[in-house]
């Protein structure tokens, strides 16, 4: 699905990312973990061609993401508020995203309504603009919007932060439920969630991959142990 080769990203001559080789296969749930400044968001932004990489290449289904736009049809991401449109109501936003994937508004809304338990009655039909929603509710809108149009690759940056405990668990359920025909690429500081939902764990530190293992190869305890300050 995604092939990364000799990727390097420098900001003012400081190297923030250096990945010689990394690839993600279809159907994987990849959890990227790492302390602040490890390069998680930089990696996601590079895959989405939102930043210019200093060296190396990233291909999606064999096409260079910086040269083509085909990947935009099957890739969906929610990294931060930069993916929300503040002056739209949630319904309008969902419909807009749906339209980008050539879905009719009614198809989109039918799809979205199945997440009502996550929305908890605070999002649909509230006649509020997204910019007026709380941080948590904005997050819910962003996460769900990334599932519209049945994308093959879903990229979520810190999907669990700012969410209440029940919703965190529901989002985990979502990932498991939709993983059959999707690749999930998520980052999180919550080691529990990562250890329990991901099929593969990649640990980044100062821009380098220090561990890339299947879940079966690393227990939750080992993961916690890894991040315990010496």
């Amino acid at each position: 699905m995604i092939e990364i080769n000799n990727l390097r990203k420098l900001y003012n001559r400081t190297e923030v990312l250096n990945i010689p080789q990394l690839s993600f296969q279809k159907g994987e749930i990849i959890g990227i973990v790492g302390n602040n400044g490890a390069g998680k968001t930089t990696l996601f932004s590079s895959i989405l061609d939102l930043i210019q990489v200093s060296a190396g290449s990233i291909t999606s289904k064999g096409n260079d993401v910086s040269q083509t736009e085909e990947w935009k049809k099957y890739t969906a991401a929610f990294l931060d508020e930069g993916f929300l449109i503040g002056f739209l109501k949630p319904e309008e936003y969902f419909e807009f995203v749906g339209k980008l994937h050539n879905l009719t508004p009614s198809t989109t809304m039918e799809f979205v309504q199945q997440f009502e338990t996550i929305f908890n009655g605070e999002i649909l039909g509230k006649k509020k603009y997204i910019r007026d929603l709380s941080k948590g509710n904005q997050k819910k809108v962003g996460l769900i919007s990334a599932l519209i149009g049945n994308p093959e690759l879903v990229i979520w940056d810190e999907p669990f932060s700012n969410l209440d405990p029940s919703t965190q668990l529901r989002v985990r359920g979502l990932i498991e439920e939709h993983s059959a025909n999707k690749t999930f690429l998520i980052s999180s500081h919550d080691l529990n969630h990562i250890a329990e939902v991901c099929t593969r764990i990649v640990i980044l530190d100062h821009g380098n991959i220090v561990k890339d293992v299947l879940r079966s190869e690393m227990s939750k305890e080992a993961l916690v142990e890894f991040f315990t300050p010496a």
């Binding site: 935009k72 049809k73 890739t75 930069g82 503040g86 910019r131």
Partner: protein, 490 residues
Amino acid sequence: MKTQLLKHAWLEFRRSPTLTRNIIQTILIGFLALYFVLLMIGMALALRPILEDVMPGQDLLIVTGGFIGYYFVTDLLMRYFVQKFPGLAVKPYLPLPFKKSSLSHYVLFRSLGSFFNFLPLFFLVPFFFKEILPTYPAAALNFALFTIGMVLFNNYLSLGINKYMAARSSWAGIIIVGVMLLFFLDYNGYLPLFDYVKNGMSIIFSSPILSVIPLVLSGGLYLFLHRFFKEELYLEKTQSQQNLMGANLSVDWFDRFGDAGKLMNLELKLILRSKRARAYLITSALFLLSPFYLVMMGEVFMESPYGLLAVGLCLTGMVGINHGQILLSWNSLHFDLLMSRGNTIHDIFKGKYYFLSLACILFFAISIPYVFLHSKILLYSAVMLLYNLGFSLFAYLFLASYTALRVDPNEGGAMSFDGFGIAHYLIMFPIMGLPFLLYLAGSTIGGEIGGLLAIVLPSILMLIFYKSLLNGVVKNFRSHRHKIASAFRK
């Protein structure tokens, strides 16, 4: 404690983005302010000789009274659309040990710091000492009380309207049409509006009781607003204007334009629901009144092709100049979505071009009735419409594909210049100057027809090459996309 608040107000002004972000902009705003100030002072000094020349034998005080009456109505309109009021500014102070009452006084006091309150003083003070006091000592006090009172009254009235009525833009259309109608009636002599105002003012200036009314009203308004703010300071961050008339407008017809059409509906909603984008639209709409200025300037300008070209530019080009110039910046808050999901870059630019073209055409259509005011206005605006579609809009697209600055479309109003860089100011000269040069060149060969053809033919040529031009813009944007996207993230 209170001096602390004032100190912060001063710092906020000194460090405001408009003044600190780039030097050219600061200088430009400085010049603009200076221009208005000098204009006011100049008017104060030159009004008597001019009036003696234009309306000999008329009483200076009474005629000036008429103008002042007009001024305060215009002033109220301008404030209504343009003046910004400190609102949220008090939020950080709420949990601190400040009395609510002093915060409320602070908000009301700060609103006086607006340019709108200082500007008339540059006319009123010199005029008062040079003309009124020596010639009309009896009416002098009334004149002073009335005019100062009106400045305060307008300030607090528009503050009140601003805080009370969210539905600002729906009124805009009604007010603009109303003003156009009044001007029209006045111009054609159906309604001697100026005489009414003049007579009203001369009655006011002769009566101390009437003169003091605005002052009393502003006092009342102040107390009322003070009480209102004291109670409502919690709710200062009210919900944004969801129930605004037209805010839910969606044009299904845009879907005809395919993938680009999806983005056109987004653009429409952006304008309707974002404070600054709306203010820009209203500013553009105000330029629809420009033919009246032409008429007021007199025969010389009305018959001059350059005057007519300028009017054509004002009628059909202002949406481009206001909204189109910071083309992509409007989307800076959600640019990452547009860059990574579903749509292509080509869709974005195509949508922008179509949207702006339709806006220009709409403005042209609205101004068709001006043909009754002056038969040539229609022809000249049609020519300028073509120029805008063929030249200006592409210039904005090309500019946007090189460089852009972050803009929060819901922050600031018509007088905020965030998002405008040096390039934006520089590009104005060729865009606004080119049609005049083309006309000049063409008219030396073929007179008026030649001049107009010199504008029309190249414009049509540009439109014929629309596809390649658009592809050029997209190609150029692709090589600058990371720089632009990162500028939008700040």
